[in-house]
């Protein structure tokens, strides 16, 4: 490697912060890029700046000590990192990230990158799931801890996973009426998992406390539930559900918080060229990482829930572990005892994670019950029937073809909300396993950019390169990579660069289109960039 650049960390949650801390301790000055305004990630998300007064104990409960430690760790290194809050990483290609902050895009070359991109709720649809008042479990928790708001006056909690009981408990503690906990997991499955839960008595105790507290306050807890529909016209007014005996029942509520565990945010790893594998436990394609967090791409490291769901404690350890791998790869000394300690603690968490997966299994039969007219794509209203049809007719045998034909995964969320569903529908219609239909390829920009995004002119030297090949494409990108002294410039996706041209029918309010360093001008891929 001819030139070492400051390490770049994407994400300022528990993994990103612990990675930064370790790099700073080794004398490096990492760049920490985070989409949020304040560090902490989702799990330890801090309230906005200003007159928010609740103490951490009220915000994070039993995890207040950990949240505080993570927050303090970042505060302690604040002046020794190049911290970029409110900054979206919208592309990763050819040894550089594209950042967007305050409407301006910037290209940040890297030689070493730690992706700590986190996770969001995994969801499957049911009729009425787009009604106002239906939110994810994670979102319902964000409303409470970040905004001091409940998603309703009387909230039904639906789904599976540790968040189900945690958020219901937090709502109850905040004085909100909990209409019920509707757990998709059967009693029998939970009972089978209990002996394994004893491996981590603290977690088991917390779970039992949540359940006990809910029951003591008269909250009904139902197991083996499947949703029938959320009812309402302008907003939710009831959850209709099927109990374990198959009876249809109705619970009045003005909000539904639901989720089926978590789903890793893997788009940047994909764009970085990382090799993926199907993970049975997460029922998802994940970027490969070794025990230390090295991806298949030299110089790219993965830590935390963004490359496999393991929770916040594991994220802290994995962030530090990835940083140690990075240091080792840069030829810097690492503490071998610390490495062994982290590895053994991560292994213990991984073992317990397998237990949790049996306690909160993904309801694999849910997808079969999704009616053909149920909307699976919130962005563009694609139905379950449309996905099944392209599978049945033989037109699509994998996710990207199904996306091309149905547009499921092509909307603004880039498949974050529908891809789990599309994969289930496709694989079950085709009779393959969940790993039999591939995965959606990530596309830049990974989140919508305002059409008025300002792309600065490339530096003079690079502008000349662009001029030398104004049509863009791999030539320009290769030169750009070489210009950064990056040894492995050609590992990008090879996909067409994104054009920042407004649709011809809608001229931009602010003229903007400078050619991007990648020669974006003149390449009309027809993709929506707003």
């Amino acid at each position: 490697m001819s030139e070492l650049l400051p390490p770049v960390i994407v994400g300022a949650g528990p993994a990103g912060i612990r990675a930064a801390e370790r790099l700073v301790a080794a004398g490096l000055r990492p760049v920490v890029v985070d989409e949020a305004a304040r560090w902490g990630g989702q799990i330890y998300r801090q309230p906005p700046e200003g007159d928010f007064t609740r103490p951490k104990k009220a915000l994070y409960g039993f995890e207040a000590g950990k949240a505080d430690a993570v927050h303090r760790a970042m505060a302690a290194i604040r002046d020794r990192v190049d911290y970029r809050p409110r900054t979206l990483v919208w592309n990763c290609e050819d040894g550089a990230l594209d950042l967007l902050c305050d409407g301006t895009s910037e290209t940040l070359p890297f030689s070493h990158l730690i992706l700590a991109t986190g996770a969001t709720d995994r969801v499957l649809p049911f009729p009425g799931w787009t009604l106002p008042g239906v939110f994810t479990l994670g979102g319902s928790q964000v409303a409470l801890k970040f905004q001091g708001c409940a998603v309703g006056r009387r909230v039904a909690f639906l789904g599976t996973g540790p968040l189900l009981y945690l958020v219901a408990y937090q709502y109850l503690k905040a004085g909100v009426e909990v209409a019920g906990v509707f757990d998709t997991t059967s009693f029998a499955a939970q009972a089978r998992a209990t002996p394994g839960m004893l491996r981590d008595p603290a977690t088991l105790a917390k779970g039992l406390l949540f359940v006990g507290w809910l029951r003591a306050h008269g909250v009904p807890i139902h197991n083996g539930v499947r949703p029938v529909r959320a009812e309402g016209t302008e907003r939710v007014d009831a959850l209709v559900w099927r109990d374990a005996q198959g009876r249809e029942r109705r619970t009045g509520c003005d909000a539904v918080a639901f989720g089926l565990g978590l789903r890793s945010e893997t788009q940047l790893a994909d764009l970085a060229g990382c090799r993926f594998r199907f993970d049975e436990a997460d029922r998802a394609w994940l970027p490969e990482r070794d025990e230390a967090g090295r991806s298949s791409v030299p110089g790219v490291y993965l830590a935390g829930d963004g490359s496999g769901i393991a929770g916040a404690d594991a994220a802290e350890l994995a962030g530090e572990r990835a940083a140690l791998a990075l240091l080792e790869d840069r030829g810097l000394p690492v503490d071998a005892a610390r490495v062994r300690d982290l590895d053994s603690r991560l292994a213990r968490i991984a073992a317990f994670r397998r237990v949790l997966n049996t306690a909160f299994p993904f309801p694999a039969d849910w997808a079969d019950a999704i009616a053909d007219d149920t909307m699976i794509c919130r962005c563009e209203g694609v139905t379950a029937g449309a996905v099944r049809e392209v599978a049945r007719s033989g037109q699509a045998r994998e996710m990207n073809r199904a996306k091309a034909l149905t547009r499921a995964g092509m909307g603004r969320c880039q498949g974050r909300m529908c891809s789990a569903t599309a994969a289930e529908l496709l694989s079950r219609t085709l009779g393959t396993g969940p790993d039999g239909v591939g995965r959606l390829r990530a596309q830049p920009p990974i989140k919508p950019l305002p059409i008025a995004t300002i792309i600065p002119s490339p530096p003079r030297s690079r502008a000349n390169e662009v001029c030398a090949d104004a049509t863009g494409g791999p030539e320009v990108r290769r030169k750009r990579g070489e210009g950064q002294g990056e040894g492995d410039a050609l590992r990008g996706s090879g996909q067409p660069v994104v054009a920042f041209q407004p649709p011809t029918s809608a001229p931009p309010r602010i003229p903007l289109t400078q050619p991007s360093p990648r020669g974006g001008e003149g390449t009309d891929t027809g993709r929506e960039v707003t």
Partner: protein, 96 residues
């Protein structure tokens, strides 16, 4: 009626904005989403069906909380903070 219910942190400075032309109040530190949904029950109607939407993930992943301003600007409501004088719309049919 409001969709979101305030249960804490209500001692913040009042921020004044308009929602569909109506003068309303929120609190400093509210997201546009919180500001709109404590004063109403949707963020917009979708372009694919005449159906109301009010966001979903609240962490910038689902992209289902885009709203329009009277000036024609588009904001992601869960990731934008409310400011005095904003003129937000929840009524209009989505037009692009």
């Amino acid at each position: 009626m409001a969709l979101l219910q305030r249960v804490a942190e209500q001692g913040r400075r009042v921020v004044r904005f308009t929602l569909d032309g109506r003068p309303v109040e929120a609190l400093e530190g509210d997201t546009v989403m919180t500001a709109m949904l404590t004063n109403g029950e949707r963020l917009r109607r979708t372009e694919f069906a005449d159906a109301p939407r009010a966001g979903f993930c609240m962490m910038g992943a689902c992209q289902d909380c885009w709203v329009r301003t009277e000036e024609g600007e588009r904001l992601r409501a869960c990731g934008t903070f409310i400011a005095d004088g904003m003129r937000l719309l929840s009524n209009g049919e989505w037009t692009s």
